[in-house]
Amino acid sequence: MNETTRIVIVGAGHAGGSAVALLRQYGWKGTITLIGDEPVPPYQRPPLSKAWLKGEASAESLALRPAKFYADNDVEMRLATTVAAIDRAGRTVTLADGEVLAYDHLILATGARARKLSIPGIDLAGVLELRSAADADKLKAALLPGTRVAIVGGGYIGLEAAASARALGAEVTIIEREARLLARVASTSLSAFFDAFHQEQGVAIELNADVAALEGEGGHVSAVRLADGRAIPCDVALIGVGAIANAELASAAGIDCAGGIRVDLSARTSDASIFAIGDCTHRPLHHYGREHRLESVPNALEQAKQVASALTGRKLPAHEVPWFWSDQYNLKLQIAGLSFDTAETVLRGDPSSNSFAVFHLAADGCLRSVEAVNAASEFMAGKMLIASRKPLARERLADMSVSMKDLL
C-alpha cells in the first residue's frame, strides 16, 4: 500500500461508511472515494422506523459520522451518484454520466432495496416503502393522529413502523400473507407474543391475507383490497415485504453471485481486487457451516472490519455470532444466532411478564439461536453459548433460579 493506491467504495450506507472510518482508523494511507446514490453522507437506518419516525432523533444523531469527518479524513465523496458498470479487466467503474474512475481495490456496499409488489395501484400517491431517510420523511409527514395506515407485511419493518405510528396516534392495520407475523424470521412463540402485544396496543392484524390491489381516489391510495374481496380503508399504505440484494452491478461484471454477492470471510468476492460488504452479500457463516445473506447492521460492521483488516494487513476480526435487534413500544427484542438445524425449543421466563427468552437447540443440545424480549442477560449469554457450542441441559436453561452466568 502507498499513498497512490486507490480504494473505490460503491454504496454509502452503514457498510460503506463504516469501511471508510475503519480504513482510516487502521492506517490506510491511499485514496478513498465513496460513491453513494443518495444525496446525503452515510447515516444509520435502524432509527428510521423507530426514534426518527417518532420525531425523537435529530439529523445529526442519525449521521454515521459528522459531515466534517469525510473532509478531515481526506475521503472523496461522490454523493447522488450512480455507478453503471464495473470493468474488471481495466479496473475501473463507469458512473451513470459516463465518467470513469480507476481503482486498485473496489468495495461493493450496494445494500438491498425494498421488494416491490406487482399489483394494481402500487404507483398511487400515499403508497410508501421504508428503506431510506427520504422514505422515512414521507411516512413521517403522513403520520398524524387519526391517520389510517395500512401496513402490508408483518416483518420487522412493518412491526416497528406500526409501533411508531401508534405512538403518533395513527390507526394501524397490519396485513400479512402468512399465517403469522414474522413468519420468515422468528419462532411461532415469538410471533404469537408480538401478535398479542400489537393488538393490545390497538393494532388490527389481518393474517393469511393476500393483497389483490391498492385502490385510490384522485390518484391517492384510499384502500387495500384483499384477495377475499374485503377492503381495508387507509390514508397511507406502507409496503414492507422484504428486501432484495443489489447484486446486479456485480453479476453484470461476471462476479459470482447467489441471491447476493458471494464473499469469503475476508469479504473478498470471486475477483481478488473486489470486495463486497453488508446487505448485498451472500456470506459464509462460520458458526453454522453454510452460506447465507444477512440483513443487519452488525453484519455490515463485521464485514467492514473484515475488508479494512484485509486491505491494511491486519489480523482478521474474530467471527461474530450474527445478531439483530428490534425496538417496539417498551419491548426490546434481541436475537442472537440463526435457527438452522434446530430440534428443540426451550422457553425461559413468562411471556405474560413481557420479559422472556426462547432458546433453539440442535439435537446435540448446542444452542443455535435465542430470541430475547426484555431479557438482555439471556441474549448476551446466548450469544456466548452459540459460539462456545457447549451442550446445555434443558431443565437448567428453563429454570429462572439458575442464572445465565452459571450456564456459560
Binding site: Q25, Q44, P46, P47, R65, P298, A375, S377, M380
Partner: protein, 106 residues
C-alpha cells in the same frame, strides 16, 4: 461545551468538547476516538461502548438501568464503575468527565 477526556487502554488521552444532549458514546464516535465501537448506534443492544467512569464522577453520571446492567454483566472485564457510554447523556454537570476504555469491546 463540556470537556470529556477519553483515555484509551494504552493510556492515550483524547480530550474532546462534546455538545450537551449528545451521549458520551456519540462524543467518542463523532471525534473518531478509537476504543468505542458502538455497533448498535446507541440502542443499548450490543455492549460495545463500554467505559470505566472515573470514580470521582460516578455521582454525576448516575447508575445503569436494568437493561444496561444486564448487558454490562456479560461484557468483558467489568468493574463497579463500568457503564455503557451510550446511556450517559452529556450535561453541563459533566464538564471535566474522565472515562477510560477497556482493552477491547468484542
Amino acid at each position: 461545551m463540556p470537556k470529556i477526556t477519553y483515555i484509551e487502554h494504552d493510556g492515550t488521552e483524547h480530550p474532546m468538547e462534546v455538545p450537551v444532549g449528545l451521549t458520551v458514546m456519540q462524543g467518542a464516535v463523532d471525534n473518531s476516538v478509537p476504543g468505542i465501537d458502538a455497533d448498535c448506534g446507541g440502542a443499548c443492544a450490543c455492549a460495545t461502548c463500554h467505559v470505566y467512569v472515573d470514580p470521582e464522577w460516578l455521582g454525576k453520571t448516575g447508575t445503569p438501568n436494568e437493561q444496561e446492567a444486564s448487558m454490562l454483566s456479560f461484557a468483558a472485564v467489568t468493574e463497579s464503575n463500568s457503564r455503557l457510554s451510550c446511556q450517559i447523556e452529556v450535561t453541563s454537570e459533566l464538564d471535566g468527565l474522565i472515562v477510560r476504555m477497556p482493552e477491547g469491546q468484542h
